[in-house]
């Protein structure tokens, strides 16, 4: 079977780039390459991962400087053409700063850096990033961030909710959406969102940290499996909003 080509962008200060590279290449047995942020072309790839970390030391705001890295112009071009882009943690912050996803990730309500396993409920299993899950599945995947408190204005929030663009919410182990299960104060327990076209996903939890069985949890593999399924088969989810209704 044709291998999926993952491109993982490396910013100065990225620190989950090699984890993502390892999971895509070794665990999932696909093609994976690292792309230095000074490059001006992403090259021949099927999916781009913006990894976690502290690009540019989180100076000014998380992701604020990274969005001006030379490679980002081509990432935006790739994304606007319908290419799959997933931003994990700092990558999610970069996607919001670049205007590819709405909203912003504020400082955690507790002011604490939160590093632990959390439960996520799959709110939309009809996306190219979640099609290997069932609607309502509960995934156990770790978070590790100081700024993961998702915020947006009420109109945008309503649009995200109405369109099914909220892909993951923090929940307890039984799938209940509660304040206690919310690690950072995110509006409506939002842990991950997708753009309207369905090709750009941002999520604070780290699927690449829950993919190697040696680490105890493998729920994160579902995200990679979904991407691989969608790239390698002709099964194309054209419009998940329509699919749902």
């Amino acid at each position: 079977m044709k291998k999926v080509k993952f491109g993982i962008v490396v910013f100065p200060g990225s620190n989950c780039d090699h984890d993502a590279h390892y999971v895509a290449g070794e665990i999932m047995n696909q093609d994976a390459k690292l792309i230095w942020h000074k490059e001006t072309s992403v090259g021949d790839v099927d999916v781009i991962i913006l990894p976690g970390g502290f690009s540019y030391g989180d100076y000014l705001r998380c992701g604020a400087i990274a969005r001006f890295s030379p490679i980002m112009k081509d990432v935006v071009r790739f994304a606007k053409r319908g290419g799959l882009v997933i931003g994990i943690c700092n990558g999610f912050q970069i996607l919001t700063e670049a205007g590819l996803l709405p909203g912003v990730l504020l400082r955690n309500k507790s002011l604490l850096f939160v590093c632990k396993y959390v439960f996520l409920r799959v709110e939309n299993a009809y996306t190219k990033f979640t099609s290997a899950c069932k609607q309502g599945d509960i995934l156990e995947i770790p978070v590790a961030h100081g700024e993961g408190n998702y915020y947006t204005d009420p109109e945008t929030l309503k649009r995200l909710e109405d369109n099914g663009q909220i892909v993951f919410r923090y929940c307890d182990k039984n799938g209940n959406i509660t304040d206690e299960a919310n690690p950072n104060g995110s509006l409506n327990n939002i842990a991950g969102i997708i753009n309207e076209e369905g090709n750009i996903l941002g999520m604070m939890p780290h699927p690449e940290r829950a993919a190697d069985p040696i680490l105890g949890h493998t729920d994160g593999r579902k995200i990679f499996e979904s991407i691989i399924q969608n790239v390698t088969t002709s099964q194309v989810i054209v419009n998940f909003v329509a699919e749902r209704s």
């Binding site: 000014l60 705001r61 604020a64 001006f68 912003v104 504020l106 400082r107 507790s110 002011l111």
Partner: protein, 84 residues
Amino acid sequence: MFHAKVYVTLKKTILDPQGKAVEDGIHSFGYDYVTNVRIGKLIEMDIDVSNKEEAEKIVREISEKLLANVVMETFNFTVEEVKE
């Protein structure tokens, strides 16, 4: 040459947990009458252009594009001529 000071602050509607923590600190040594502590950023820069309007235009553009994220922040600034 002009010198600009850009003040970036969280919008009023956004909770500022950092400001709240500092407010609690202020209260802990007795200044109970201090409230609404908010934390923002001050960014200073020199701009080598010939007139003030142009300097202000540049500062506004930089603030909108980079210094502030208007989803959560607002900004204001001052521009003053620097005497050589």
